[in-house]
């Protein structure tokens, strides 16, 4: 009986904790217009459809053959133009997807959005570098 009580207690904690994670624990206060939101969602959909995460990580989630893209947009060594070039003509290992303009812009909007959320990452990186 004690075992069942412990198991139930743990399970209820799990449900409550999950509820917090789904809401307050992961709230962010970035305000986006409807059209921006649509563009970002479209970019994300392309990112998933072409399985970019097999080679790239966002916040460390994904495969490791290619670079992490969380802060690609604001990185002085990378930025919008490198991203664009890469999406169209590929690289040494990166396939040349030959996306059209509309697709490229959507992916960039998504990566830019991811970058703006990465507050936890940027100050730390700068701190580490200097």
């Amino acid at each position: 009986m004690t075992k069942i009580i412990i198991a139930c207690f743990l399970f209820i904690s799990f449900v409550v904790y999950s509820g917090f994670i789904y809401t307050r624990g992961t709230a962010n206060n970035i305000k986006l217009s409807g059209s921006e939101q649509k563009m970002i969602a479209h970019g994300k959909q392309i990112y998933q459809q072409y399985n970019c995460q097999a080679c790239h990580q966002i916040y460390g989630l994904g495969g490791y053959l290619g670079p992490d893209l969380t802060t690609a947009w604001s990185d002085p060594q990378r930025g919008k133009y490198l991203i664009k070039a890469m999406l169209i003509s590929g690289g040494n290992r990166m396939p040349a997807f030959q996306f059209n303009n509309e697709q490229t812009e959507a992916i960039i909007a998504y990566l830019k959005y991811v970058d703006t959320t990465a507050t936890s990452l940027k100050p730390r990186i700068r701190q580490e570098l200097h």
Partner: protein, 479 residues
Amino acid sequence: MLTQQQLPLSPELGKSYIKQCYNSDKAALAFIAMAVSYLLLGLTFGVLGSLQYLLPKFLNNYLTFQKTRPLHVYLAISWIFTAAQGGLYYYLPRLSNRKLFWLQGAWIHFALQLLTSLAIITAFFMGYFGGREYLEFPPFMGIFIAISWLPFAINFFGTISPQFKTAPVYYFSWTIGIVFFYITLSESYLWVFDHFNNNVTRDITVQWKALGSMVGSWNMLVYGTSLYIMEQLKGDKKISRSPIAFFFFFLGFTNLMFNWGHHTYIVPAAPWVKTVAYVISMTELLIFGQILFQFRKTISNTLKYYYSIPFRLLSFADIWIFLNLGAAIAISIPAINFYTHGTHITVAHAMGTTIGINTMLLFASIFYILQQQKPGALNQKSSWIGKGVLITNISLILFWTSLIGSGLVKISARLENKAFAVMMKNCEPFFKIFAISGIGILIGLAILIVTVLALVFKKEHNLPLHIDSNSLVEMETEL
């Protein structure tokens, strides 16, 4: 009426045992054959993927890393849960002393699983993706997986109908494994709702949460199995009912539910998410301490039973538990995690545990079953099996070290702000060791896989003495 007959002395343990045959054993063996086939295919794609690290243009037209990685990861994971399921189909009737609850269900499960995996593999080859970590197939295929597990869940609960008061700890592990597989599979599809999909912080956090716990759910299936085998090998039923066994079960369960958080230290979620994650991760120190405490006993047992193949595999798994748990605790410390996150050290952890621990434990389970079902044939192959196990483990040491090595190179490149291409170049020596030792693992495990397939399909000359359709045990055999 039961018709059992004692077999001659078991070559492995020096005591006699009774060979039992249940009508579900064929299904169990079919699952085992399917599982090792997944493993062989998965290993092949893993090796191709590792070659793509070394040779940028290797297969870059048709079978890019975009496809080899999901094929490898999906098949490797399928190996783990299919082998665990096959084991359960074998153990459940024996544990509960009754026939499997729904025999056709096991075969329906087999057919559904086979069809689902064929569909998923075809989708990957054709370039249809869902683009989510570990579940990289188109989202609707997740439903196929959920459905294919249903007959398994029904059979599990229908057959054991546990009496919780006296139930051994592995009943609990298996129950949690199945229930949480469903919970986490559903959770990993929450992104289809805008509430999750439109907020990257939430999406990534929930994805880590679901996947971290999903891995925990297979581990529950696998560890439950290893506890059961250990109990059978030692012939001591008290261990798996002791308070200490339950204490560690509940600790493991807590970790399954809350330990995923160390993956999310860099995600901008609320600070308390990290604190909870850190505190929970550190409870693993207790498990670590327990292993250290038991070490002498483990070593003396290993020496005593070294000739038993399942025992040898369990001992190798113990060493890998020790190494990987140590590494996992280290990378759960935020200051260390900041550096190691997003490097091959994470991959070392993922494959170190799935190969070193899960794969060793599952082969222990498979050889334990084959030892009962095909003792004569298994005996003839034991020196090959020994070689396969040794080659795998020696290669795995190199494999694991090379991944940690390339992780360290990446950390130093990051600190020096070097470009990605430069970092990849510096990693090359490690990638070479990674690819070569990966081929070693493929060879070592292929020896085990081919042996298992040969044994599963081999007919041992069984002489049915009596067949009674109402009995639990259908026939008895002579060697």
